[in-house]
């Protein structure tokens, strides 16, 4: 049973990396598109490609969390206790990313639009960075755990 849940989790993480990863990549492309009026064509293309699918891609992330806390509750609690800072920064990034993406659309004024695009682009770099920092920390924490060293756990 544990193996099946782990497989589902692996597939969900892979799906989020592909779907969500593309969206983060689109954010970075958006950031690097430049500051000319012409760059707006790139941004319109990013909007056009992302708008119908980014919610579905984001649901994979929620799904990963749900499967983790249902299948491996101790791991979930330990990871979220140990990686508190990077995960908190990641959720700030998630909020700012959504705000940036949502707000630049109704703003037709060029400079205002660019400001929201920058928020969206920078958050698109920082959010996956903090996710990766968390994931990178897990094997290290796991080895400490296996060696019997207590990592931060609310119930000791």
């Amino acid at each position: 049973m544990q193996t099946v849940i782990a497989l589902v989790l692996l597939l969900a993480v892979a799906a989020y990396s592909c779907g969500g990863g593309t969206d983060y990549g689109a954010g970075i492309w958006d950031l690097l598109a430049g500051r000319h009026e012409r760059s707006d064509r790139h941004r319109t293309l990013v909007d056009y490609a992302m708008a119908p699918v980014w919610e579905v891609n984001n649901v994979w992330l929620v799904f990963v969390l749900v499967v983790t806390w249902t299948g491996f509750p101790r791991v979930f609690a330990d990871v979220f206790s140990a990686a508190w800072v990077s995960l908190t920064l990641a959720i700030f990034g998630l909020i700012l990313r959504g705000v940036g993406f949502a707000f630049r659309k109704p703003v037709r004024h060029f400079t205002g639009r660019r400001r929201w695009s920058t928020v969206f682009g920078v958050a698109s770099i920082l959010t996956p960075f903090f996710f990766a920092a968390t994931l990178g920390g897990i094997p290290r924490a796991g080895s400490l755990w296996a060696a019997g060293t207590a990592i931060c756990s609310p119930r000791g």
Partner: protein, 493 residues
Amino acid sequence: MTGCLDACVLEVVLAQPPQTLPARLQMAFTLMAHIILVPLGVALPFITLVMNYLGLRRDDRTALTLARRWSMVMAIQFAVGVVSGTILSFEFGLLWPGLMGTWGGVFGTGFGIEAWAFFLEAILLSIYLYGWRRLPPWTHFWFGVPLPAVALLGAFGILAANAWMHSPRGFRLNAAGEPTDVDVWRVLFTPMLGPQYWHFILAAYMAAGFGVASVYAVGWLRGRRDRYHKLGFTVPFTVGAIAAPVQIVVGDIIARATFHEQPVKYAAMALVWRTDTYVPEYVFGWLQPEGTVSGGPRIPWLNSMLAGFTPDTRVQGLTSVPASERPSPALATFVHTAFDVMVIIGFLLLALAAWFAIAWLRGSRDPSSGTRRRHDLPRSAWFFRCAAACGVAAVIALEAGWITTEVGRQPWVVYGHLKVADAVTRSVSAAAIWTSFAVIVLIYTAIAFVTILCRLRTEWRKADAEAGVTEPAERLPVPAEESDIPYGPREEP
């Protein structure tokens, strides 16, 4: 009231680890923001589909325009809801690892159902939104039809998890006190699920119906008495008005379910200090630390009558459990106030729904031409003034009901098994949580503020356009998708 709040804050600070207060505030704040979006997610698809159906059936372009505009509101609501919902699922781990680490494996299934429903909803909603121009009208309508059912399924998952926290079962505790032998069906279908679920669904339909209608009531009051506003008011208001009387009955049922399943919460809702028969009901009022209630009229016997239909029904009081297992007098007063606010708003909305129904059934006669309409809206401006406020009132009632449910179970997070203070994270200092709480409040408030500014600017630009002021040169062309014609050939991009 401030004295009461101070006492409330003081007691929380003294009795619990320092992380508890900021963690509770952050969770409460993000949930409170999220719960405003939920009614739109649960009930707006249904209201929009009704309007879409009317538009197609009667070949009515006004109705189709309304349906299309509401579907844009659905899109915005869904996008914001996805973000604020993701934040909530992170907070389970960041703020309450003690809850998830021990009990996540028991009650996680409900969230799994919700995530699955969320996938379906995201896909169907995208088809519905982008199908306005790309699909034949009736095919487009039928793609939208599963949306209300999928929204009900998602709400079921979340409320199954929440109801389990209020009446936990479906597991066995082993020698170490940890849950084993999880029975998924018993976890999902707990005694509080039925009442909580229907109470919440009806509240969502009322909040969304009255909320949408109130927008058009404002337009009506400002003199825009055209078909567009009449239709935009009547359809959602009817949905809210049908839900209102059913909600009173369901509200009565959930109060009695709480009396049986969570007697201490019921005692807090009604400010019952000592277990007794012939218990009175207080309207507002403060519970003093020594157990008397000051302020607020007192209705003899009513509380016992509500709990068991006879005045000699024995109602369990707050003092029937040790002080560490019940909400403090200040918190109980808070719960009682929220409960009373919810009930009073519920009855006011029922009265407004009745006014609407009577006027609709009586119809009207135009005094100048003598023509009779079989059905018509009330003529009184006071009706529309009340209707303009009913959306905000329904959302306040929803929030008050949620406060009653969640604060009323304090100090427990899993009723009878785990206290909030034992669930909170200890891996960071209270200062860190205060900081994250402050940042989240700041960003959320900034969002609300910027939204209002954007709205204002749109209005000003419209006013400018009407006054003939030329548009700024920097302005980009309007994308074709933002135009309002529901169906028809699509311009190639």
